[in-house]
């Protein structure tokens, strides 16, 4: 027991010192930490939005929408590929109802060739060996293509990767402070913006897909038919709220002449009348396309379509060369700016819906932190007083261990950049409780052994040995629970479990090894014949 080698003392002290050092930046003002020279630890743990105030938004991708997109894309591909290949396959009666693409092969002798060609349009999904579409023949005349689960999952995954980037770009453009944008699960994105009070602007920005298209207006369509929502073949009817012709609808050709993908810039500008418009610039390929189409269609109107809604449908008065255009519509300065940001950051590959939103005001956050801190200090002082009153010198050691433990936990949280939330504080309380309990277990055991008539050294040694086993069992059980909660839990359950896991590891170390070292050093120096415990 008294044998405590120097290297052991040093390694224990050093470990704890490092932990405490890492906790320090979290207590200093942000500006001070920012001035730290490189190499000095400056990581801080974060306060959750429930404590610091801000907005939390959970977005979910409209995956059924994505499935429709996939079908529409495949329909386009099938149409062109069947006609283009050699020999040309004559198909008809294409339908995409019931979440599958089915078409009729007019010449039965071509069926096998058609199936083969349809197969070439599908692709393998990752390394799973599965393909993204199933191709089947029905009634010996129809080919049915169904997107597979793996294919949809892959498409969702790809879309989500892009969506996270687009969301990040859009939020960065708003200039908010330190947003957190994390993909969650298969089809969700969590956005957390500290300090943001009114998330309405943010949500308006995130809600837009910003799919921009230019299409020619179908002038052959019959207005009566348009009013009923019917368009000639190859055209579609879209809502057009500002239609000067009335009716709030317009027929446009299905084929887009240009899409937002070829956009390189979008800025807010004013038109001749001083109304806000969005001025856009295409890349060179897009600019050339735009020039060609406008040359060929002088005098005809084209529609600018955002998220399947026609913003404006001006006449082409002259060929527009140079790849610059202006989008006008019913904008005010704010909505024009939102559109410009959305266009600049690119289109969302899939629509996102807000399914959860939490906003905590800054004063509530500040109140919680202040009263939480005061309460924590009072609680600590009360427990310390109690420990010292009960165990005397050993209580002082236990106190030292618990206080150092608190700092080490915060230090570890800073290193891994963890977030402290309200449930995290619950985890903290439990950890401190366990740390106190470990010391109580040891000290009670020492008392017990001394009462049984053992000498000082034996009592201390046995006390630590016997109590360590109990402490180990109790903490491993809690650790199992904590790890299960980290893996399977979400949100608060996880926040709780992360702190608990860190706390269990550090508290066993401080409560058992650190106090044991202190006791050993004291025993070696004083050699008491009786322990006042």
């Amino acid at each position: 027991m008294l044998d405590f080698p120097r290297w052991k003392i040093w390694s224990i002290c050093l470990t704890l010192l490092v932990g405490v050092l890492f906790a320090i930046p979290s207590f200093l003002p942000e500006a001070t930490v920012a001035k730290f020279p490189p190499g000095v630890p400056s990581a801080r743990f974060n306060l959750g939005l429930d404590l610091s105030g801000g907005s939390h938004i959970l977005l979910e991708a409209a995956t059924d929408d994505l499935e429709k997109q996939q079908l529409a894309k495949m329909e386009e591909t099938v149409r062109t590929e069947m006609r283009r290949g050699d020999p040309q396959v004559n198909i008809g009666d294409i339908s995409t109802t019931g979440n599958r693409l089915s078409f009729f092969v007019r010449d039965v002798t071509q069926l096998d060739a058609a199936v083969d060609r349809a197969r070439t349009l599908t692709s393998a999904v990752g390394v799973t060996g599965k393909r993204d579409w199933d191709v089947a023949v029905v009634d010996s005349t129809r080919i049915v293509m169904t997107p597979t689960k793996a294919g949809l999952a892959y498409a969702t995954d790809e879309a989500m990767k892009v969506a996270v980037e687009v969301v990040r770009k859009r939020i960065d453009e708003l200039g908010t402070r330190e947003p957190t944008i994390i993909r969650q699960g298969d089809d969700r994105i969590v956005v957390q913006v500290p300090g943001l009070q009114n998330p309405a602007a943010l949500k308006a920005l995130l809600g837009k897909t910003a799919k921009l298209e230019f299409k020619l207006v179908d002038l052959t369509a019959d207005p009566a038919q348009i009013a009923q929502g019917r368009a000639p073949i190859g055209s579609q009817v879209l809502p057009y709220l500002d239609n000067p012709a009335g009716g709030q609808r317009i027929a446009v050709q299905r084929r887009a002449i240009l899409s937002g993908d070829e956009l390189i810039d979008a800025q807010v500008a004013r038109d001749q009348d001083g109304r806000p418009v969005v001025s856009i610039t295409f890349n060179s390929a897009g600019g050339r396309k735009f020039a060609r189409v406008t040359q060929e269609n002088v005098g005809k109107p084209f529609a600018m379509i955002l998220d399947n809604q026609v913003l404006s449908a001006p006449n082409i008065n002259e060929p527009i060369l140079g790849g610059k255009a202006q989008i006008s519509g019913n904008f005010n300065a704010e909505s024009a700016n939102a559109l410009a940001i959305s266009l600049r950051s690119g289109k969302l590959p899939v629509a996102l819906k807000v399914i959860e939103e939490r906003t905590v005001g800054p004063d509530l956050g500040a109140d919680s932190i202040r009263s939480g801190a005061i309460a924590a200090i009072i609680a600590t002082v009360a427990v310390i007083a109690f420990m010292i009153a009960t165990y005397g010198r050993f209580g002082v050691y236990a106190t030292l261990a618990v206080v150092i433990n608190i700092f080490v936990i915060l230090g570890v949280m800073a290193i891994i950049n963890a977030t402290l939330t309200l449930p995290g504080i619950a985890g903290f309380v439990l950890t401190i409780g366990a740390a106190v309990d470990a010391n109580v277990l040891i000290n009670e055991r020492i008392r017990e052994e001394q009462r049984r008539g053992r000498n000082v050294i034996q009592s201390v040694e046995l006390g630590y040995k016997e109590a360590s086993r109990t402490i180990f069992d109790a903490n491993v059980t809690n650790l199992i629970a904590a790890i299960i909660m980290i893996v399977f839990g979400s949100g608060p359950v996880k926040g709780f479990a992360v702190v608990l896991t860190i706390g269990i590891a550090t508290s066993v170390f401080t409560a058992v090894h650190f106090t044991r070292m202190l006791v050993a050093l004291w025993l070696r120096k004083q050699r008491p014949t009786h322990l006042n415990i």
Partner: protein, 328 residues
């Protein structure tokens, strides 16, 4: 210096003798909790049922009736108002309007504007919007994680001790959770996600308590091979009693300070934990330990599995020092 002694040395309280009374009380408490949960139900927050929650702070006390009238004029569905902390704070809960997210946003805006018109001093401290889909998942995930954690614990206790310990711990933990839920049903305190964290804390603490006593029972089972099992459990509970009381006192001191000084946000949460600590301590002594007797713990199986003792020579010596042998 005289040190504080809350529990005198060498207590010899007959816990086991009282176990039938305790069992009756436990069953009564559990049944009462289940009845309360079934009849009164839990006051589930928007986290679990979906909906809108707006927390408004005023510079002076407001009349709930007047506020209710103001808001109900908007025709936004069933309103629930609850004072939160002081008379100056009110939590307004509304059902989620049909339609998409913008509908919810519009409702929030309209309610805020209407209240601000009547009370220009109002500050909206918190706004939560949770869709039904998310709330359903939150419930499922929460329950799943807690159950899985409890199951993991039971398996470990079984592997490390004996199946009797696993079962008794499991039963006692369920007892703790049910009684805490019963408390929430009784008081109608709002049951939200943070309370789930509080319940996890209770489970963790209670578990710690049980392991400590189980550990001592195991130790004594090896040490006193002749002792009757009831007496042995009494001895173990008594031996660990100073520790139980000390730790519980520390937790009560810490949580009490949090409850009194910690502010409004964590109040429901700390009161749940405080109650849970008391229940957990009770169930360690009366539910799990006594259950071991009912389950008929068998020392022969334990002896076979016995891991080598850490300090055999001292343990052997201690056999002569037993102070409690009912057969004597």
């Amino acid at each position: 210096m005289r040190l504080l002694r809350i529990v005198p040395d060498n207590t010899n309280i007959g816990f086991v003798r009282l176990r039938f009374v305790a069992f009756a009380f436990t069953i009564l408490l559990t049944l009462a909790s289940i009845t309360l949960i079934a009849t009164r139900g839990l006051n589930l927050g928007v986290d679990f049922v979906g909906g809108l929650m707006i927390e408004a702070g005023f510079s002076q006390p407001v009349q709930l009736d007047e506020l209710r009238e103001t808001v109900s004029g908007l025709n936004v569905g069933e309103i629930s108002l609850q004072q939160f902390g002081g008379p100056n704070n009110v939590a307004i809960r509304l059902p989620l309007p049909p339609g998409d997210e913008t509908a919810a946003q519009t409702v929030v805006k309209r309610v805020q504007a209407t209240i601000a018109q009547k009370h220009p001093d109002v500050v909206f401290r918190r706004v939560d919007t949770v869709s039904g889909k998310v709330s359903g998942e939150l419930i499922r995930n929460g329950i799943f994680a807690v159950l899985l954690a409890i199951a993991g614990i039971a398996v470990f206790t079984w592997a490390r001790f004996e199946w009797h310990f696993g079962v008794s711990t499991l039963v006692a933990l369920f007892h703790d959770v049910i009684v805490t839920l019963g408390f929430f049903a009784l008081t109608r305190l709002e049951f939200d996600l943070n309370v789930v964290a509080a319940i996890l804390t209770i489970v963790g603490y209670s578990l710690n308590d049980k392991i400590v006593i189980d550990d001592r029972i195991r130790e004594n089972l090896r040490k006193y091979r002749q002792m009757e099992i009831g007496a042995l459990i009494d001895l173990s509970v008594n031996e660990t009693l100073p520790r139980t009381v000390m730790t519980t006192m520390s937790m009560v001191l810490a949580l009490g300070s949090l409850l009194i000084f910690g502010g409004e946000v964590i109040r429901g949460f700390t009161s749940a934990m405080l109650l849970g600590i008391v229940i957990g301590t009770y169930s360690s002594i009366y539910v799990s330990s006594s259950l071991l007797i009912a389950l008929g713990i068998d020392r022969s199986t334990l002896a076979k599995r016995a891991t080598p003792s850490l300090t055999p020579e001292i343990n052997a010596e201690r056999v002569t020092r037993r102070r409690d042998d009912p057969k004597a």
